[in-house]
C-alpha cells in the first residue's frame, strides 16, 4: 500500500502539491485524473522517491521513504517499476538491450535465459522483429510497449504509469489500456496510472482519484466519479469549457 500524507511540494514560488492525502489500494488499479499542470506526475515521482516532499510523508507498505539514503531507497524501489510518459528508453541501446538491461544488471541469469525472457516480454506486449531497432526508429505506441515490457520484466509489486497513452491515436490508446488491464489482472500488481483519457480510463481502473489544485478532490470507483455532483469533477469529465476549471484559452 502507498500512502501520501499531507504532502506539500513547491518549485520556487509555484506550489504544486498542497497538503495532498491519498491511499493507493493494494493489488488494484488506481487512476489519478486532473487538469494538465496540476502535479499528477510530481505526485507519482514522490511515490517512488524521485522527488522528496517539502512537508508531509510518503509511506510504502507502512515505511516512510522520506529522507532515506540512496541505498535504502533502492531497497524500496525493488518493489516498483515505472512506465514514463515518453517511455524513457535508453536511446543509445537497442530495444533488446533496453529490455534486457535490468535483467543483466540485477540478476545472475545466463545470456540464453535473458534472451528467452526478453523474447517473451516483447511478445506479451505484442512486439515482433524489433530487437535490433533503436528507440528513435520506433513509433510512439511501440516505445510505450517496450517501456511496459521493460517495467514488467522483473515482476514488480507496484507499477506506476505516467500518462502511458499521451500522444497516441485512439486505436493504439485503447490497445495500451487493454494491455495494462490484462497484465494487471495476470500479475496482480498494484497499478497507479496518471491519465487524461476520459472515458477510457474508467474501463481500466478500479479506483479514480481527482487531483485539483494540489489536493485530491474526490476518490472513488469509476461509477462514483462518473456520477459525481462536484462541479470541478463534472466539468473535467464532460470536457466542458464552462465551469470552475480555467481552460487557459481566451
Amino acid at each position: 500500500m502507498i500512502e501520501l500524507i499531507n504532502v506539500h511540494k513547491s518549485f520556487g514560488s509555484q506550489t504544486v502539491l498542497n497538503g495532498l492525502n491519498l491511499t493507493i489500494p493494494v493489488g488494484k488499479t488506481t487512476a489519478v485524473i486532473g487538469p494538465s499542470g496540476e502535479g499528477k506526475s510530481v505526485m507519482l515521482k514522490h511515490m517512488i522517491g524521485l522527488l522528496q516532499p517539502d512537508q508531509g510523508d510518503v509511506l510504502v507498505e507502512g515505511t516512510s521513504i522520506v529522507g532515506l539514503r540512496r541505498s535504502q531507497l533502492n531497497q524500496v524501489r525493488e518493489k516498483f517499476a515505472m512506465v514514463f510518459q515518453n517511455a524513457a528508453l535508453f536511446d543509445s541501446m537497442t530495444v533488446y538491450e533496453n529490455v534486457a538491461f535490468p535483467l543483466e544488471e540485477k540478476t545472475s541469469l545466463s545470456r540464453s535465459e535473458i534472451e528467452d525472457r526478453v523474447a517473451v516480454a516483447l511478445q506479451e506486449v505484442g512486439l515482433k522483429n524489433v530487437n535490433h531497432k533503436y528507440p528513435d526508429e520506433l513509433s510512439g505506441g511501440m516505445k510505450k510497449r517496450v517501456g511496459l515490457a521493460r517495467a514488467l520484466l522483473l515482476q514488480p509489486q507496484i507499477v506506476l504509469f505516467d500518462e502511458p497513452t499521451t500522444g497516441l491515436d485512439p486505436v493504439i490508446r485503447r490497445a495500451i489500456h487493454q494491455l495494462i488491464k490484462e497484465t494487471q489482472e495476470k500479475f496482480g500488481f498494484t497499478a497507479v496510472i496518471v491519465s487524461h483519457d476520459i472515458p477510457d480510463i474508467f474501463d481500466v481502473a478500479h479506483h479514480i482519484a481527482m487531483l485539483y489544485r494540489g489536493e485530491i478532490l474526490q476518490f472513488g470507483t469509476p461509477s462514483e466519479i462518473q456520477t459525481s455532483e462536484h462541479p470541478v469533477v463534472r466539468q473535467f469529465i464532460s470536457g466542458s469549457l464552462d465551469g470552475p476549471i480555467n481552460s487557459g484559452v481566451a
Binding site: 524521485l50 540512496r70 535508453f90 540485477k106
Partner: protein
C-alpha cells in the same frame, strides 16, 4: 533597499548551494569509483571516446605547439647565442606546462562538452530517472566509467602531446632553422628531470578529474529542454577551462 539586499542574499545563497552540490557530487563520484567502478566494458568504451577519439586533435595541436615553440625559442635564444638550448626550452615548456594544460583544454572542448550533452539529454528525457526507478545507481553506469576513463586517458594523451610537440620543435629547429640535431636532444636529456615529467603527469591526471567532474555535474543537473542542455554544455566548457587554468597555477606553485 530591502529588495536589493534580498536579491544579493538570494544570489549568494544560490551560489553557495551550487558550490556545495558540486562538491558533494565530486565526493560521491569518487566514493562510487571505489565502491562501484562500473563494468570494464563501459570503462573501455569511455576510454575509447575520451582518449582514442581525441588523439587526432591532440596530435595536431601538439605538432603546431611544438613548431611554434621551436620558432619562438630559436628567435629568442639566438639573441643570446644559445640556440643549442632549443631542445631544452621546447621540452621543458611542453612537459611542465603546455602539454598537460593544452591537452586538457582540447579534451574539454571535444569530450567534456559531449559528456555534458550526453548526460544532460539523458536527464531531460527521464533516462536517468528510469535508471533510478530500476534501483540502479546512475553513478555506477554513467559517472564512474567517465571519471576512470578520464583519469586513464589524460596522462596518456599528455605523454603523446609532449612527444609530438618535441618532434614538432625538432622539425622547425633542426630541419628548417639548422640547429645542431645532437645538441637539440642531448641538452634536453641533460636538463629534463624526472620531477618535470612527474609534475606534468600529476597535472594531467588532476585535469582528467576536473573534466569528468564538471562535465558530468553540469549534465546531471541540466535545466529543462534543449535550451537547458545547451546552457549546461556552454557552462561546462567555460567552467572546466577556467578551473584547469586556476588549478594549474596552484599545482605549479606546489610542485615547483
Amino acid at each position: 533597499m530591502t529588495h536589493f539586499l534580498r536579491t544579493i542574499g538570494r544570489g549568494t545563497i544560490g551560489q553557495l548551494q551550487e558550490l556545495g552540490n558540486c562538491g558533494q557530487f565530486l565526493a560521491y563520484a569518487l566514493y562510487s569509483i571505489l565502491r562501484r567502478p562500473g563494468r570494464p566494458v563501459h570503462i573501455l568504451k569511455q576510454v575509447n571516446f575520451i582518449g582514442t577519439k581525441s588523439l587526432f586533435v591532440i596530435v595536431l595541436t601538439a605538432a603546431f605547439t611544438g613548431m611554434v615553440l621551436g620558432l619562438q625559442g630559436y628567435y629568442t635564444l639566438t639573441k643570446f647565442g644559445s640556440e643549442g638550448m632549443l631542445g631544452t626550452a621546447v621540452a621543458l615548456s611542453l612537459i611542465r606546462e603546455l602539454g598537460p594544460v593544452l591537452s586538457a583544454l582540447m579534451v574539454t572542448g571535444r569530450a567534456g562538452s559531449a559528456i555534458t550533452a550526453e548526460i544532460g539529454i539523458m536527464r531531460i528525457s527521464e533516462q536517468i530517472d528510469a535508471m533510478e526507478t530500476m534501483a540502479l545507481d546512475p553513478y555506477k553506469y554513467l559517472i564512474s566509467p567517465k571519471f576512470i576513463a578520464a583519469m586513464i586517458s589524460m596522462p596518456l594523451l599528455c605523454g603523446i602531446f609532449d612527444v609530438v610537440g618535441i618532434y614538432g620543435g625538432w622539425v622547425v629547429g633542426v630541419k628548417l632553422l639548422g640547429v645542431n640535431p645532437g645538441a637539440y636532444f642531448s641538452e634536453m636529456y641533460k636538463s629534463v628531470e624526472w620531477k618535470d615529467v612527474y609534475s606534468g603527469f600529476v597535472k594531467s591526471y588532476s585535469f582528467g578529474i576536473i573534466i569528468a567532474w564538471i562535465g558530468c555535474y553540469k549534465g546531471y543537473y541540466a535545466g529543462h529542454g534543449a535550451e537547458g542542455v545547451s546552457k549546461a554544455t556552454t557552462e561546462s566548457v567555460v567552467l572546466t577551462s577556467v578551473l584547469i587554468l586556476v588549478w594549474d597555477y596552484f599545482l605549479t606553485s606546489v610542485l615547483l
